[in-house]
């Protein structure tokens, strides 16, 4: 059996169906199997990325033996491959983190791990697929796993957050399905490459309606304003590893689908400006809302929304440098926000309340955790020796190159807001008056391990950005080369 992109989908599904049976043999297997699967997928990523980088050509896998327009295909290009590898890497670390995670372990662990693995599979599938309806199916898998995981603790707030997410998410699915339906009546195919090829035959009015339906549906998953009401609740009520998964995988899948639809499927000029405007609104509102939060996890959630707004702005600029910066920021956001969620969750766990006030002086009790959280906070606001600095710099340069000076000013001003609320937390951690509470919960070994890995990656990329920029440059080039995407996909087997 040759290693191919379908392994990303087939093996987790097989494992998910096997797990209820294996749980009867040994409960521990339930916790171990997702890790085994994810580690194998990490290996698959390395092999496939190597192959793609060597040949410079995307791997296009047909499924069920039917070529491009008739059947479904998976596209593992330098762009999708980069995102998928990032997702699998993050999922593996989050699995290590949540292994023996106390609060999850008190609950039915079997369901947790099945849902977690499907959340990963769904997000990876959204990125890999070359078929618009298949993307919808994977969106559904991701969404349904997210709803259940949001309300996993079954308390009142969790149920509320889960229900809110469920309502908004169902609306998103409906809009996306409507868009796909309309699209099919116009072009008679569901394959994204072929849709892109035939798009010029669609009348403009119809095109705009379809695009708006897509933007509404996908914007909800991508946390675009004003469709992101679910996000702060879902992030703060879900178990912490799941919060990290939302930031590292689910939002990335949402943004990917938005970008794929705008960059590849449609050729409407105003769409890029629309992205910039929505991005700016999202960024400003989210960052100011984050500053007002008293709850740490909610603050991180709003910051996450703000970062996604930033990504949308960068994609909206649309030049090669800007797309490079956007992808770099997506990478940075995945690792940094996960680190913040992981370390933040232990502070919240060990303080009397979920509030930032309750964190007073906790950095002195957990010096190492405080150190990790501070690295994350410094990195995400974009201080120089950390990885976040580079992505912000590249986006600013790209904006300046296009002489969008107002945009540069807005980004820099909002960065000040960002610095204010992150530094406020860091200051509380170190200079607040410690409470007398004893240390109750220490992180597990897995927790220490994955957080340390993330911190090392942040520093490493900060000092030597070259180790990652090569991949991102090629990913950006692949994304922007629409003609190559169409011809590559449609030439398979012809």
């Amino acid at each position: 059996m040759v290693i191919s992109p379908v392994h990303y989908i087939a093996l987790p599904l097989l494992a998910a169906f096997l797990m209820p049976l294996l749980a009867k043999v040994n409960r521990e297997l339930v916790r171990i199997i997702p890790g085994v699967v994810l580690t194998y997928l990490l290996f698959v990523s390395v092999v496939l990325m190597q192959r793609v980088t060597e040949t410079g050509q995307p791997i296009i896998e047909t499924l069920a033996g039917w070529q491009a327009p008739w059947g479904i295909n998976l596209v593992f290009s330098q762009f999708t491959g980069f995102l998928v590898s990032l997702m699998v890497f993050m999922a593996t670390l989050i699995w290590i983190f949540s292994y023996r995670f106390k609060k999850v372990d008190n609950e039915p662990a079997l369901k947790y791990y099945i849902l977690f693995m499907m959340l990963v599979t769904g997000s990876v599938g959204v990125v890999l697929t070359g078929d618009i309806f298949n993307m919808f199916v994977f969106m559904e898998i991701t969404a349904i796993a997210s709803y259940s995981l949001t309300s996993f603790y079954r308390d009142r707030d969790g149920a509320e957050a889960g229900f809110k997410y469920l309502l908004i998410g169902s609306l998103a699915s409906t809009f996306m399905l409507l868009a796909i339906l309309l699209l099919y009546t116009q072009v008679g195919t569901l394959n994204m490459a072929m849709i892109a090829e035939r798009m010029h035959t669609v009348p403009v009015g119809m095109k705009v309606t379809i695009l708006i339906l897509f933007l509404t549906g996908l914007g909800i998953e991508a946390e675009m304003f004003p469709l992101n009401g679910w996000a702060p609740d879902a992030y703060s009520q879900a178990p912490s590893p799941v919060g990290a998964t939302f930031a590292a995988l689910v939002v990335k899948a949402g943004v990917y689908s938005l970008i794929r639809v705008i960059f590849t499927l449609f050729d409407i000029q105003g769409a890029y400006q629309y992205l910039i405007i929505m991005g700016i609104i999202t960024l400003i509102i989210a960052e100011f809302a984050a500053m007002k939060q008293t709850n740490l996890k909610r603050m991180l959630a709003y910051s996450s929304i703000g970062q996604m707004g930033f990504v949308l702005i960068a994609f909206g600029i649309g030049t090669k440098e800007a797309v490079f910066g956007a992808l770099f920021l997506m990478f940075n956001h995945a690792i940094i926000k996960s680190l913040l969620f992981m370390s933040g969750s232990f502070f919240v766990y060990n303080s009397t309340s979920k509030d930032i006030k309750g964190l007073s002086g906790i950095g002195k009790k957990f010096p190492y955790m405080g150190f990790l959280f501070s690295i994350g906070a410094f990195a995400i606001v974009g201080l120089p020796p950390f990885s976040g600095f580079w992505s912000k710099l590249y986006i600013l340069i790209a904006a300046a190159d296009e002489s969008m000076l107002a945009l540069v000013a807005i980004i820099l001003l909002v960065s000040i807001v960002e610095i204010v609320y992150y530094f406020r937390v860091v200051a509380k951690l170190y200079f607040g008056k410690p409470t007398d509470k004893e240390v109750v919960h220490k992180p597990t070994f897995g927790g220490y391990f994955s957080m340390t890995v993330l911190a090392v990656v942040i520093l490493l990329v900060g000092f030597y950005p070259d180790i990652i920029t090569g991949f991102i440059h090629r990913a950006a080039d692949t994304l922007l080369d629409k003609g190559a995407y169409i011809s590559n996909v449609l030439s398979v087997g012809h």
């Binding site: 369901k111 309309l182 309606t209």
Partner: protein, 239 residues
Amino acid sequence: MKRAFILLLLVVVGWVLADTFSQINFGESRMGDIKQQETVGAYYLNNTVEKLSVANVVTAIVVNYRGFDTLGEVTVLFLAASGLASILYRRKKRGEHDVMILKNSSQLLQTGAKLIFPAILVLGAYVFIHGHLTPGGGFQGGAIIASGFLLMFMAYKDYHVSHNVLTWVESVAGILFVSVGIWGLISGATFLENVLGTGTLNDLISGGVIPLIYIAVGFKVAAELTGVLETLLNFKTEK
């Protein structure tokens, strides 16, 4: 004021959508340009019988051309059932009793249910086994079977389906579906490819792996929907 604004917004959205949909000629005969093969639909109609020996083209699309989607849809159902079980999961407190339905259902319903239950099961099985020949298939057949169990739940207040059995059926059927896919990979073809011979049109055993997959889907859907009903009716679950 706020309400009027929302109403206005809804009217505008509704008008735009209605306008867009009015441009599509739903119900118009499209058989005229079937030979053009512009759309994938035309290709399916023209080639399915010849290439797959499957009389029900919809089944061929669902299970073969777009079988990967179906695997995803099966997973969606599986996740919905798992998610429901994880949310409705509750440890029984000490001394707590199950919620009891005190009244028995009427004699008429009980006798009728007993009579009709096997017939519903047979109909469900018929629908998914003949999915490649007649209208229907795994999802429909599975739903029919689950409706039979629903009837039994309503008729008999202490009717129970073993969770153990449901888990086994569900898992084995799911594993079978994925294994058929991986079988294609192992035999050097693509994932979910029809690796068996297609046989003759209208035979019960024809269409290669299509009936196999639909039988697995039928069992899986039946077990999952029954499991969902069981979870909702008995608000307590396995340890």
